[in-house]
Symmetry: C2
Subunit: 159 residues, 2 copies
């Protein structure tokens, strides 16, 4: 197996493990539980769920395979802190969006040739990439995986 393929597979395995764990957790949690704060005065489960959706929905743009499907979520779940926006999507609405965002990524990733992971991501210039070739599409995937693990560790406290 080409080393490129091995590398992409390590990063993709790690990503999918985190996505699957978080999906399972959400599917096994009631709406009521997800409306609770993960600790007194901290973010609610619903906010972290929306935050992860909004961040992952932006990945196709950074990785170069299309526009966000839910651009309206960024203002609610990234820019604004929890409990500062009056009207936010319900847990049911987020449950419907969650699999579509992650299935889209899974599908695109499975069609992506390994060498494409080593090209620059869309939010940096060619000149910057020449200076630091480690800032490629794969590094975006690795960073998003750690971001997901960070918030999954928090979500798990609801149980």
């Amino acid at each position: 197996m080409a080393q490129q393929t091995v590398l992409a597979r390590i990063a993709l395995n790690a990503w999918q493990i985190q996505v699957d764990r978080t999906t399972k957790f959400i599917n096994e949690s009631s709406d009521e539980l997800l409306l609770k704060e993960i600790a007194p005065g901290k973010n609610r489960g619903i906010y972290l769920m929306g935050h992860l959706i909004a961040i992952h929905d932006a990945m196709p743009e950074i990785l170069g395979f299309g526009k966000k499907a839910h651009p309206e979520l960024a203002a609610i779940f990234i820019t604004a802190p929890d409990k500062t926006v009056d009207k936010i999507p319900t847990v049911s609405e987020l449950r419907a969006i969650w699999p579509s965002v992650h299935d889209r990524l899974k599908n695109e990733f499975s069609n992506m040739p390994a060498d494409k992971w080593f090209t620059r991501h869309e939010s940096m210039t060619d000149a910057d990439f020449e200076k630091d070739p480690a800032r490629n599409k794969l590094s975006v995937l690795v960073n998003r995986t750690n971001h997901l693990a960070y918030h999954f560790g928090q979500l798990r406290l609801l149980k």
Copy 2:
């Protein structure tokens, strides 16, 4: 730059970012804060700190550059849940061990040739590795990074 080197660098950057963030958080936290539970009825900060040390102290064995420096910590911070062991190290004692474990890793990583990351890790057989070459030393680093991010997300709730 060889692609092997690029990928090892992505993974090492991601690891060091998580280590540095967690170290900064611990250094800025009082002993009193670290003795608190991250959420009611959940693990205390001191337990997560000891847990991360014990897991990271085992990495040299898995990656093939030496024995654990603190083998006694595994029983307290991995096998046993929090608040079940009478006598555990103090926060001060853990503060002294934390940098030694992470500096050792940083030092070993900086001396490690990129291609060595693509060899099998020590807790699997050659036959298994032939079946799945993605289970190499680099995959151990990637998994430990996600594990660290997961618990750092929890530690951050203390603030």
